[in-house]
């Protein structure tokens, strides 16, 4: 890093940011109970953002370009890349903006309880949970992929910022399969910032339970309009509408017209007012901005516009950095009551998507459950849901039960009325 900084200064680059990310990773791939492949990697990735100030017709501009500087590059190659980037930045005619204020910090250690463990041991602990998750030949874990990463990130810039942190990341996915009466599968992902065997165990149990239900699912739900229940990751996906539309990257170009203090949820009729928070997953943003928890919506009213330094400067607001995690404080109805209401519980989709541009959410149903007035449960598969959050956001009711993963903390479920179902006639 020192060599790169010295070459930047030698090239006359007065404003720059250098980021170094050193990642160690262990990956285990399983097919049923057998190891398909172990993989190991060591990556040392350095990138530099080069800023160039210029003036045209009395207007000040600040152009920038990002380059990647692999450790294998010679000094001459780095010098040439810096020169090319400096030239390229002169065509990036963006209005001048201030870079984030100087921040200096000792390395912030990983908050994970497993931070002292070798990665291979963490991977083995996850594998133990996965390999013992099933016990019969009908419903079992078909395959799993486990990823354990430890990354140290350091950000240094020309304003004097020098921050670094270490993060442990545990990610993975598995496929649960049930062979009778129908041969079907359910795909699940997981992401934790710490070793949490219990959370993974529950996720696996849930996957096996759901795939058993899907194996006996018969037909698609009835076509027409009905109330649906979304849970976990799909509920988190729905909330992307709020995090994206409150981002300066959507507000500055005019894609989102939201303003601080505006009731962006609109009139709440039969639903709950939204209390959403932006939660920190890392101590610093990619620009070295110290991150802290911030209110996003209070009773449906926008409290924070979040984003990077450039758009913040243009909008005249404080730069906050980018957030990956949301917390929703809501929940007035029990999950059981939601299910007993006759709503269609959309357990899993092939790919549930929230279009933050137009408010539409949609997905093809892999498994849906419906409980009738007598408490009888019917498992369904096929068909799709297609709704728009904008007219429905005043009618959202959330569960009292909670759910947590690396990108969300909040109610486990949401009840949404009047959603269009394409299903059986």
């Amino acid at each position: 890093m020192d060599k790169i900084i010295s070459l930047l200064e030698k090239a006359g680059v007065s404003a720059w940011r250098v980021t170094r990310k050193r990642t160690e990773a262990v990956e285990l791939y399983f097919i049923k109970k057998k190891l398909d492949l172990p993989r190991y990697k060591d990556l040392d990735e350095i990138s530099a953002e080069i800023f160039r100030d210029f003036e045209k017709d009395g207007v000040k501009y600040r152009g920038s370009t990002t380059i990647f500087l692999e450790p294998s590059l010679s000094e001459e190659e780095i010098g040439r890349k810096i020169k090319d980037a400096w030239y390229a930045a002169s065509f990036v005619k963006n209005r001048w903006y201030d870079l984030p204020k100087k921040t200096v910090s000792e390395t912030v250690p990983s908050g994970a309880s497993c931070r002292e463990l070798p990665l291979a041991k963490i991977a083995d602990s996850l594998a133990d949970v996965v390999l013992h998750a099933d016990s019969d030949d009908t419903a079992f874990i078909n395959s799993a992929e486990l990823f354990v990463r430890r990354a140290k990130v350091r950000i240094v810039d020309s304003a004097g910022t020098d921050v670094s942190c270490i993060r442990d990341m545990i990610r993975g996915e598995f496929v649960a399969q049930c062979t009778a009466p129908e041969d079907v599968e359910q795909f699940r992902q997981f992401a934790y910032d710490d070793l949490d065997p219990q959370a993974l165990k529950e996720k696996l149990e849930e996957g096996i339970r759901d795939v058993r239900l899907r194996a006996r699912a018969k037909g698609a739900p009835a076509a027409g309009s009905c109330s649906i229940i979304l849970t976990g990751e799909n509920l988190r996906e729905l909330l992307n509408f709020y995090s994206a539309r409150s981002g300066s990257a959507m507000i500055y170009p005019g894609y989102s017209t939201w303003k601080i203090g505006e009731n962006v949820q609109g009139e709440v009729t039969t639903g709950e007012k939204l209390r959403l928070s932006l939660v920190t997953a890392l101590p610093f943003s990619t620009e070295g901005i110290p991150m802290k928890e911030r209110p996003l919506l209070q009773d449906g009213v926008l409290r924070t516009i979040h984003g990077n330094a450039r758009f913040a400067h243009y909008l005249g607001i404080e730069p906050t950095g980018g957030y990956e995690k949301l917390r929703l404080d809501a929940g007035t109805m029990s999950y059981e009551d939601m299910k007993r209401s006759g709503a269609l519980e959309a357990v899993s989709f092939s790919d549930f998507q929230m279009d933050v541009m137009d408010g539409h959410f949609a997905g093809e149903l892999r498994l849906a459950l419906q409980t009738d007035g007598s408490g009888n449960l019917t498992a369904l598969t096929g068909g799709s849901v297609n709704g728009n959050l904008i007219p429905l956001q005043g009618k959202l009711v959330f569960s009292k039960e909670r759910y947590k993963d690396s990108s969300y903390e909040g109610p486990l479920a949401v009840l949404i009325p009047d959603v269009m179902i394409a299903g059986s006639d």
């Binding site: 190891l35 492949l37 190991y40 990647f68 990036v92 092939s350 539409h360």
Partner: protein, 473 residues
């Protein structure tokens, strides 16, 4: 002009050879794949101008793969120095010790390689590095500004250009392969507002080549604007089964998402693909022939000479006149299944695992004229502008989404538009319902394909206009 070789790979070749020799002393099979990738992205919109290098598909690095005791292990890094070689050897040795006692290995025969050696390059007309940042930005700015003059309701227009030049070197006991490839794409996205909702219209073009693709940007802009106008006029659709004409872009999404992922044969190994039991059976109308391959006649962003396991690229017929005849396969899966690899073993980047992946995937052309196909529909939709799709190899369920469909009544487009639309149903039902295929085709590779929700690789897909019955919602 041909893409030149990488001076970096030439420089590290002796070191990679030394690493390979060290591995071959210890293991039954060993190979080293090294890459040198340059990717640059340009965009212009209301937020500003952006020029940046892109590392989405990796940069420089290597993967060492070894085989012992019935299984493989891999180690990747983005730098190799002479002094690193002992630690790479030690890490892989440690891997077999750590996992050998703890896990039973999934049975895998060793790779069988016939000797092969070549160095090949793709061609291009205009080198984006020589054209330069200034000219590329000027082109993006001018097409954007021209597009924005068309309508006052427009919120924004984004114009984009990306190119990638990659060099790969594969070394094993019997193979020494080098390839140098350049591909590029450009796109235009218009955004307009309809009350609180924003709608967009998108069009893209891609090619195995360089900055010559920028000549297609004005056409992309016109098509994107037309798509936005349709999306803004779209009404909600009444769910049901419709007679549909799919544009080549929608056909491409059906080919890729609905069927292509289901014939990736690493899914056969895991018993995750229904297609495994359907080889030799009718899965589509006899009008349908489907192909995939990095060496097909449709050159696009996924054309190459060898895959990431050192197997030569091929041209695979998957469906022959309605009959499923073959899947596509990576090398390890091929060894497990006792078939020949088809050159479809691909990594997102050099530090990712190999999976069976599609390349350029398409239905071949038929004999009907698109206008005759529309004229044959009494009541239905012309589906256009695919937005996303998801595979379901195990159960052949379809999830594909399009921005809109244009209403057809009595053989004519009425001007009414419905959208957004979700396509669902059972894949063979849809493919068997295909009753007309056009004599014109289109294909594009502007996006990337994931395996599940990760492992992104560049692919292209497309084909002709098709007429089929599809459940829409």
């Amino acid at each position: 002009m041909k893409v030149e070789s990488s001076s970096y790979l030439a420089l590290v070749r002796p070191l990679l050879k030394k690493l390979l020799d060290g591995l071959l002393e210890r293991y039954e099979y060993a190979s080293v794949l090294a890459t040198d990738v340059e990717m640059k992205s340009y965009s212009v919109n209301r937020s500003g101008i952006r020029i940046t290098e892109n590392n989405m598909f990796g940069r420089r690095g290597f993967t060492a793969r070894v085989y012992k005791d019935g299984g493989y292990a891999e180690y990747s890094a983005n730098c190799l120095k002479e002094e690193d070689i002992p630690s790479v050897l030690a890490r892989l040795n440690q891997s077999f010790k750590e996992t050998g006692n703890r896990y039973e290995r999934f049975p895998t025969p060793p790779a069988e390689e016939t000797p092969l050696s070549f160095s090949k390059s793709t061609e291009f007309l205009a080198d984006p590095r020589k054209l330069g940042d200034e000219e590329i930005v000027k082109k993006l700015v001018s097409v954007r500004e021209e597009g924005l003059k068309a309508d006052e309701m427009l919120v924004d227009c984004t114009t984009r250009f990306n190119y990638q030049v990659y060099h790969k070197l594969f070394l094993s006991r019997s193979r020494d392969l080098e390839q140098n490839v350049m591909f590029s794409d450009c796109s235009a996205i218009f955004i307009g507002r309809k009350e609180e909702a924003l709608k967009d219209g998108y069009s893209a073009s891609s090619a195995l080549g360089g900055a010559e693709i920028l000549e297609r940007l004005p056409d992309c802009s016109a098509q994107a604007l037309d798509s936005l106008r349709a999306a803004l006029a779209a009404e909600p659709i009444q769910p049901g089964e419709y007679e549909c004409i799919c544009t080549p872009q929608v056909t491409g999404m059906i080919v890729h998402e609905a069927f292509g992922h289901g014939v990736e044969m690493d899914m056969f190994v895991k018993d995750r693909a229904l297609a495994k039991n359907c080889v030799g059976t009718q899965v589509a109308s006899e009008l349908v022939t489907m192909k995939d391959g990095a060496a097909t006649s449709y050159e696009d962003v996924a054309s190459y000479f060898f895959d990431d396991e050192g197997n030569p690229a091929s041209d695979t017929v998957i469906i022959d006149r309605g009959i499923l005849v073959s899947g596509i396969c990576d090398g390890v899966s091929a060894a497990r299944l006792g078939v020949r690899p088809t050159g479809n073993g691909r990594r997102e980047s050099v530090d990712h695992k190999v999976y069976t992946r599609m390349t350029n995937t398409f239905f071949t052309e038929g004999t009907s004229r698109p206008e005759d196909m529309i004229a044959s529909v009494k009541e239905g939709l012309l589906l256009d502008c695919p937005t996303s799709g998801m595979e379901d190899p195990k159960n052949w369920g379809i999830q594909c989404m399009v921005s809109f469909g244009r209403e057809i009544r009595d053989g004519r487009l009425t001007g009414r538009v419905f959208g957004p639309i979700v396509l669902t149903g059972y894949v063979p039902d849809l493919l068997k319902s295909i009753s007309m295929i056009s004599d014109t085709v289109g294909h594009c590779g502007s996006g990337a394909c994931g395996k599940g929700w990760k492992e992104w690789v560049k692919v292209s897909d497309g084909g002709p206009y098709i007429k089929a019955r599809i459940r829409l919602g």
